[in-house]
């Protein structure tokens, strides 16, 4: 501000306009007739929505990020195989949502678990559907995960500078399989029970750490009332928390490093270079 003329005290000066309050640039010409009522409504509704979005955008600065993310350049040759990663994530989200709702009825007690699972299936509205989605969705997720991994491997998308993302993906694979293992016990029928016994004893067969690993999973030396709550806690809290965090890191790296072109296009490019010579 000028220091020559004594200015008004600050509280008397008009506030500088906030960015959102600037005069709207009149890109819509003055209407030459009275606007129709419907038009006016539509316009003000649109403006209201734009104002809300503008208000949010001004405070969060998401629009440059969103523009960069949604309209980013992708390599030539990007095809349907590139959607396998998103599909896997969608499967995870579906598992998370159905899982939260199943937890509202499920009871991780050795004497009540089977009963509550059958209550979900037979009594609750849409229970069979939701439990089925969770059960078959787990298989779908693992199939999609392996397909996504195969795509990455075959297209060579694990190479520099994407090694770290491959490593994170492998950890996600292991965690997803651990979800399958811990979830298998929860219906607590004969199949669940014996499959878990066998799986825990497989863990016990590792030299040196095996017995400790099995004891950790069982919560003691024998399969007891603690085992099923422990599997439930791993299935609901520990492993999904880790998976969600690692999916975040995985996506961050994908957004940062971009995707690769399919190998056949890279080969074409190489040949083009040779022909140019």
């Amino acid at each position: 501000m000028s220091k020559l003329t004594p200015p008004l005290p600050k509280f008397l000066r008009p506030a500088p306009p906030r960015p959102s309050e600037k005069e709207p640039t009149p890109d819509i010409g003055e209407p030459n007739g009275k606007p129709g009522r419907a038009d006016k409504l539509r316009e003000s509704a649109g403006e209201g929505g734009a104002q809300v979005i503008g208000w949010l955008d001004e405070r969060t600065g998401t629009s440059p990020f969103l523009r960069g993310f949604l309209f980013r350049k992708v390599p030539k040759g990007t095809n349907w195989f590139y959607s396998l990663g998103s599909a896997t994530m969608f499967a995870f989200v579906s598992q998370a949502v159905t899982g939260v709702f199943l937890a509202m009825y499920y009871n991780p007690d050795a004497t009540r678990a089977y009963e509550s699972a059958s209550y979900i299936t037979n009594e609750v509205f849409a229970g069979e559907l939701v439990r089925g989605m969770h059960k078959w969705g787990s298989t779908v997720m693992i199939v999609l995960l392996f397909l996504h991994m195969a795509r990455t491997f075959v297209f060579g998308a694990y190479k520099y500078p994407r090694e770290l993302n491959w490593v994170i993906g492998v950890v996600l694979l292991v965690l997803t399989l651990a979800m399958g293992l811990t979830g298998y016990l929860l219906p607590f029928d004969q199949r669940s029970y014996w499959a878990t016994i066998v799986a825990v004893n497989l863990n016990a067969s590792a030299p040196l750490i095996g017995p400790f690993l099995a004891d950790f999973l069982r919560g003691g030396a024998e399969f007891s009332s603690v085992t099923i709550t422990r599997f439930y806690a791993l299935h609901m809290l520990l492993i999904p928390g880790l998976i969600a965090a690692l999916i975040g890191a995985h996506l961050y790296l994908v957004a940062k490093l971009g995707t690769t072109a399919p190998p056949w296009l890279r080969a074409e490019k190489k040949e083009l270079t040779k022909e140019e010579i």
Binding site: N32, G36, T98, F101, V124, F125, A126, M133
Partner: protein
């Protein structure tokens, strides 16, 4: 004309008029717009396909009938009289152990003093007055004192009279009641129901729900009851 005006003020209707390269004649939606819309719609349908059943699954108990259609024996007719309440224990949900047990107060119906009777339209009055101990303020258990013939709630001091009507404190309506009948000389207790201050009968409501005057429309019944 409004049509002309909006044509002038907005983007041209046809993509060809906007000078887009490769626009087809008569095309009104850009291909990018179409793909975006299609992807959003497909994603929306896919999300709804699993989110809606899951939501219904979680919210279903709000719309299902919670009443249990069974009669529980609480003792022979000789246990009860019209001048004093007798506490009895019934089981509202066998699945939750101790928490499923509820105390009720039972006495014989007295045609002289019990007017009006909360009967179901034109049917006979219920032969026993069976009161729930759930205070209709916030659900604490009330206790009956014989000397003043009053029910008192320990939590916030609600007081009910001998008929279960509010006598003081915060409760909003009389104590809930239960259906009762006599079979082979034994008193049996059935479904819970709520009453308003005139002892008019309503479907079972939560404590704290008013049932008088216009209030009854602000606290709707469960859909299936």
């Amino acid at each position: 004309m409004a049509e002309n005006r909006s044509d002038k003020n907005r983007k041209p209707r046809y993509t060809a008029d906007r000078g887009m390269p490769g626009a087809f004649e008569g095309e009104t939606v850009t291909r990018r717009g179409f793909m975006t819309g299609g992807a959003l719609a497909a994603g929306g349908i896919a999300s709804a396909a699993f989110a809606l059943p899951a939501l219904g699954f979680a919210l279903a108990p709000m719309f299902t009938d919670g009443t249990v259609d069974r009669w529980q024996d609480v003792g022979p007719e000789s246990d009860f009289n019209p001048t004093a309440y007798v506490p009895k224990v019934i089981n509202t949900d066998p699945g939750v152990g101790e928490a499923g047990k509820a105390t009720i107060y039972v006495r014989k119906f007295d045609p002289e003093s019990d007017k009006p009777s909360p009967s179901d339209g034109g049917s006979d009055p219920i032969p026993y007055v069976v009161l729930s101990t759930r205070c209709v303020h916030l659900g604490c258990p009330v206790r009956y004192y014989q000397a003043p013939k009053r029910f008192v709630c320990p939590c916030h001091g609600g007081i009910y009279d001998f008929q279960g009507k509010v006598d003081g404190g915060p409760p909003v309506r009389p104590l809930d009641r239960f259906e009762a009948r006599v079979t082979n000389g034994r008193v049996e207790v059935g479904e819970r129901f709520s009453v308003n201050s005139e002892l008019r009968r309503f479907s079972p409501r939560d404590p704290s729900n008013h049932l008088d005057g216009l209030w009854q429309y602000l606290y709707p019944a469960r859909p299936s009851t």
